[in-house]
Structures are given as structure tokens and as C-alpha cells.
């Protein structure tokens, strides 16, 4: 299956967080690589799976099923984005 990138999940993530996370910077809990969410690999299937472009570890899983949203973010050690203080 061809993967997409983090741009593709901007809408789904914006619906969960308070804004657009494409330019937010994520740190991979697996290898420590750091970069914008727009650059991660995205696999679509049962929900969406975001993977680290450097080490391929799962960063985030997002699924909607049975009337609820399930979000697993264990692969992201740190997420930073600009916001008013």
C-alpha cells in the first residue's frame, strides 16, 4: 500500500486538536528524530497510522469506530507547536 504524508491527516488532526498540526514538530519516541508532522508517513486502512520517516516506528494511530475516537500517541515523545502564550 502506498503511503501518504502528514499533510493528508491535517483535517483529522485539526478536528481533535485546536488547530492545524502540519507544521507542529514531533519527536519520535523510537529514534529521537524530530520534524514537522507534515513529513511523517501516513498509512490509511482501519483508521490512520502515522510512522516515523526515519525509523518506521508507529508514531500515532487514529481510529473512529463504534461511535468513539481512539487515539494512540505512544510513539510521539514530544509534540511542539506555536501558540499564543
Amino acid at each position: 500500500m502506498t503511503h501518504l504524508d502528514g499533510n493528508a491527516v491535517a483535517g483529522d488532526l485539526a478536528a481533535i486538536f485546536t488547530g492545524d498540526l502540519s507544521a507542529a514538530v514531533a519527536t519520535c519516541a523510537g529514534c529521537g528524530a524530530t520534524g514537522p508532522v507534515a513529513n511523517v508517513m501516513v498509512y490509511e486502512g482501519m483508521g490512520e497510522v502515522l510512522r516515523c520517516p526515519d525509523c518506521d516506528e508507529v508514531l500515532l494511530r487514529l481510529m473512529r469506530a463504534h461511535g468513539e475516537t481512539r487515539l494512540d500517541m505512544r510513539g510521539i515523545k514530544l509534540l511542539r507547536w506555536g501558540s499564543a502564550s
Binding site: 502528514g6 502540519s22 513529513n39
Partner: protein, 227 residues
């Protein structure tokens, strides 16, 4: 109205671009503008309730008002053939957005930029060009019929280079292969400006790798893959 709310969009106008592509001007109540390079999520619902969701880049400039999306028909696709061939003015579907805060160009970025587009990857780049981005553009297309916006790009005097990967126009003396390192080097030997790359996943990854090999700083390369 928040960007994440689904809203009804009405097709205001349809303009054929190529034999396989059309631009749809959408009337979206409460639309509050976009940044060049952003996309919208589109949701179509069939009579039996079946839903299909897709993403389409906005082709128009922010100052153009009503957002325009250009859709290229995907062989065997579910949504794109409907958009290109079946949709008519006054049809409606749902949209939300705009989205994207990375693959965008803002007028504050006044330095020259490079843009490399494969197939429909030209759509978000065209929004940036229409918004006034000082860009050099390299476009990879299967054949002449596959190049979006060619007349407008020429009329605008955009610094445009083309490569045809399947069939060349008669008398063509330019590039006729996939984008590679040698082509990128000949096209733009200077390393430094920001580069936008958009197209199919394999195209984007190969071009981005080649740019890094040629000495471009990965932090200056902004990519968008559409599968």
C-alpha cells in the same frame, strides 16, 4: 464556523483543464479564505449512505475568493471520475478546511522558490504561483495533454521547464524522462532556495532524495505526497 466543520459546497462553475481534469469553483457558505498550498477534505454521500472522503488541493489564489479545486481523473478511481466527468453545476457535496500549515507559501516569503510538480502535484503549486510566489517551476507530465494550466503559465511568463515521461509532442527537443539528479542539476545548479515538491509518493521521494544528494538542505525542502 470552524474549518473542521463539514459544510455544504455547491459547484458554481466547471472548467475543463485537460481531457482528464477539471476545475470546480465551489460556493462554500462561511468560507473564510485559505493559504496558498492548502487543501480541503471532500466527502460524498451516496443515496444508500455510503461515504467516500478525499483530499483536493486548492488551485486558486487566496485573493480569488471562492475556492477552486482541480481534480485529475484517477484510473479506476471512485470519486475523481465523478468530479471530472459527471458533476454538474449546482451539484453539492460536503467540504471542510482549509487545512495545511507546512506545504504553504505566504507573501511574506519574498525570496525566490523552486517548485517541482508531478501530474496533479501542480495544483497546490499553481495556487502559490497565482498568489505571486517568485518561482521557477519544473513539471513532469506523461504527455502534453497531462499538463495542467499550460496556457496560463505561459501567459504569466512563469519560468517553466517541462519533462514528458511517456509521449513527447511533435518536434519536442526538451527532456523526455523522469526527473533525475542530472536534470535537477541542469535545471537549477544553485543550492539554497526553498523547494516545494508535490506529486505521487514515489515521485516526491525520489526527487527529495535527489535534491538532498545535490546538496539541498532537507529543512528547505517541503513535500506533499498524494499517493
Amino acid at each position: 464556523m470552524r474549518p473542521t466543520d463539514w459544510r455544504k459546497a455547491t459547484v458554481e462553475r466547471i472548467r475543463p483543464e485537460t481531457p482528464r481534469a477539471a476545475t470546480l469553483t465551489l460556493n462554500v457558505p462561511g468560507w473564510s479564505g485559505h493559504r496558498a498550498g492548502q487543501h480541503v477534505d471532500v466527502r460524498l454521500t451516496a443515496d444508500d449512505g455510503y461515504q467516500a472522503q478525499r483530499r483536493y488541493s486548492i488551485a486558486s489564489a487566496p485573493a480569488d475568493g471562492a475556492p477552486q479545486i482541480t481534480v485529475v481523473e484517477v484510473d479506476g478511481g471512485e470519486v475523481s471520475p465523478w468530479m471530472v466527468s459527471v458533476a454538474r453545476e449546482e451539484d453539492t457535496f460536503e467540504v471542510r478546511g482549509p487545512f495545511g500549515g507546512w506545504f504553504v507559501w505566504d507573501p511574506a516569503h519574498t525570496e525566490p522558490v523552486l517548485m517541482i510538480g508531478g501530474g496533479s502535484g501542480l495544483v497546490p503549486l499553481m495556487s502559490m504561483v497565482r498568489a505571486g510566489a517568485p518561482a521557477r517551476l519544473l513539471v513532469s507530465a506523461r504527455d502534453r495533454d497531462d499538463v495542467l494550466y499550460l496556457d496560463e503559465l505561459e501567459k504569466r511568463g512563469v519560468d517553466l521547464a517541462l519533462t514528458y515521461t511517456r509521449r513527447m509532442p511533435l518536434g519536442w527537443t526538451g527532456w523526455n524522462r523522469r526527473v533525475d539528479r542530472e536534470m535537477l542539476w541542469k535545471w537549477q545548479p544553485r543550492v539554497g532556495p526553498r523547494v516545494y515538491v508535490c506529486g505521487p509518493t514515489a515521485f516526491v521521494e525520489s526527487v527529495a532524495d535527489d535534491l538532498v544528494f545535490l546538496g539541498h538542505d532537507p529543512a528547505n525542502i517541503r513535500t506533499e505526497r498524494f499517493g
